[in-house]
Every structure is written in C-alpha cells, then in structure tokens.
Symmetry: C2
Subunit: 201 residues, 2 copies
C-alpha cells in the first residue's frame, strides 16, 4: 500500500488538467502515493464562486490561450485547442466512473485517451457514441458504455463526486488534495511534491 494519497480533481474540458494529467501518475509513483483520478463538473464550482470559465473571461482568456500554447512548446506536449472549447464533459465523465467501477486502471487509460483525443486530435467528446467507442477500447463493451452514460445510477455517481469536490473546497481544475492538503493548479505540482516529501511546513 502506498504511504500517501493524491486526489486529482479535474474537468475533462480543462487544458491545464490535460497538462497535469501527463505527470500526475509519475509524481504519484515517485512520492509513494496512490493517485485517484476524480473528474467533476467545474461549472458547478463556478456557480458557487461566481467566477466564470477562464477562456471566456476578458483578458484572462487571451492570456490562457497564449499560456497553453507555450506550455505545450516548453514541455514538448502536443496541444491544439478544440473549436468547441470549453464543453460540458458529461458523457466522458460518466463513462469514466462507470469504467472505474469495473477496472480502475482501465479507467485511467480511458481518461488519458480521452484527453489526447480531445486536445491533440480535437475530437468532440459531447456525443455519447464517440465516448462509447473510446470506452470500448478500455474493456467497456460499446453498448454497455452507451447505456451507462444514460444510467441514472451513473449520473448520480458523477453528481455525488461533483458535490464531494465542492464540499472539499475544490474550485478549479486541476486541483489536488494530497494527504488532505489542497493544491490548486498545474503550476503548484512542485509544491505538492515538496509537501509529500515531508516539507513539513
């Protein structure tokens, strides 16, 4: 059993979450931490904080687009902002939790593939059919995946996870909770590593 736990809260439509997803499992391995991927609906947090989508906010949106492009160049991680950014990541989040109930490792593989499909190949993940096809590559039979995306129980699971995020003070994406300590943003991962390694502050 790993000595530490990291909850990796994110919205599938968040570019900063896409960048964080490239590193989070390596960070977990090096820090002897179990990493739980936890998609949630960022829009629900926006309703509480009154802060809107970054990319739709004047000035901040321009900065963010510039920042994503240079992060991609700096880190050597492919990235193209999709035309339909941002989108409501309902189908893909529900499919994630359905897969997680069957096989947590496969669910992570699916999440990585979904990020890549969206932010590299610019595949829209709004359509349940597209998401079900992707899920089928990670052991979730296509028709069962389609049914799961519309299943009241799976919908309730995703809603409960989003409520859990809010109750834990999660207000952005990505947001990490490492052994109970909150860290907001892809640019705070180094601080989280220091914390897990016993910074003790």
């Amino acid at each position: 059993m790993p000595r530490h736990t990291i909850e990796f809260w994110f919205d599938f439509s968040s570019p900063y979450a896409y960048f964080a997803a490239q590193d989070i499992d390596d960070i977990g391995s090096r820090a002897d931490a179990d990493v739980a991927w936890r998609p949630f609906l960022l829009g629900a947090a926006f309703q509480v904080t009154g802060v809107g989508s970054l990319s739709k906010t004047p000035i901040r949106g321009d900065y963010a687009r510039h920042d994503w492009a240079r992060l991609s160049r700096q880190r050597g991680i492919p990235f193209r902002l999709p035309a339909n950014h941002p989108y409501q990541a309902l189908a893909v989040s529900r499919a994630y939790y359905w897969l997680e109930g069957r096989d947590p490792a496969a669910a992570k593989g699916f999440a990585r593939a979904a990020f890549r499909a969206h932010f590299v190949d610019n595949v829209s993940l709004i359509d349940p059919d597209t998401v079900a096809n992707l899920a089928a590559r990670y052991g979730g039979p296509r028709m069962a995946a389609l049914a799961a995306i519309d299943d009241p129980e799976i919908k309730a699971t995703f809603k409960a996870r989003t409520q859990e995020a809010l109750s834990k003070g999660v207000f952005g994406s990505p947001f990490f909770i490492a052994d109970g300590e909150p860290f907001w943003g892809q640019d705070r991962m180094a601080m989280m590593i220091d914390w897990l390694q016993g910074g003790g502050w």
Copy 2:
C-alpha cells in the same frame, strides 16, 4: 546595461505580490535583467475581467488565506494578514511613483518597507500621514510626500500606469512582463527565469 527587462506589476494590497517582492530583484540580478517595479490599481483590472478580489470570493478566499500562511512557513517569510485586507492602495502607490521620479532605488526601498510594514507589522497604509512618514525614511521630505500624495500630476501618473497595465493585458497581481512575455502569478516566477535564460519555447 542589463540585457533583459522585467516589469513587475503589482498592487500593494496583494499578499502574493508581497511574497514575489522578496525574490524579484535577486531574480533580476541573476538573469541580467533590469527590474521595474510597477504598482497599479488591481481593482481597475477586476472591472474589465469581471473577476473580484480573491479574498472576497467564496471558497477561493479560504484557499488563499490557507495558501498565504503555508507559503510563509515554507519560505520562511514572515506574514500576517492585516485586518483591513484588502485595501485601496492609493496613497502608497502615489508616493512610490513620486519617489521614483526622484530616485528609483530609494523608491524600491520604500516599496519593500511598505510591504513589510503592512504584511508583517500590520500597519494600515490608507492614511496619507502614515505613508508620508514612511516615505521620509527614503529621502522624500515628509511634507513634500504628503503634498505629492494629493498632487493631480502624481495622481495622473498612477492612473496612467494603471491604464498601461490594462493595455498590456495585466489582470492580476503579481504579473510580470519579461522582454515582452507575460507571466501571471508568484508561482510562475520559475517559468519566467527559464524564459529569460533562453528556454526559447
């Protein structure tokens, strides 16, 4: 002449700017960059972006207060949030630009002392008398400092700097512009150093 330039945009009432102010001149020295300290009125940017003061935003405010306290512990930098946080930093910003016109190095010394007075000793910097007393320790005669804080020309200078900030896309505090490249936030200073050292991305 240094090979690079860093514009350090900040609001005197911003805790993250206080933390950034501890390092920015060392970073400038190591990167062979001239650092221009540029106070501006963050509230003016909030009016454009529609985003409000961090510490008054639900959930985000709690996170920020927690984050400032742990940054202080992690970095060994004394910090106590003043009771009147956040405040409108008019008097101190005007005094800064007045001093800068006389002696840029003394103005930086004044800015550092103002940050320390506010975030370590919890001195309120709203009152022009308090600010003038502080300015007097950096070569600006007390009565002249008091007059400057109310001088239409100095007021216009501060307004023009705030407009300059907005026109350059500055929307938060601290915000750095290094050789024309924008970096938002105290936690992006490492990325700025990489950029100045020729990251080339």
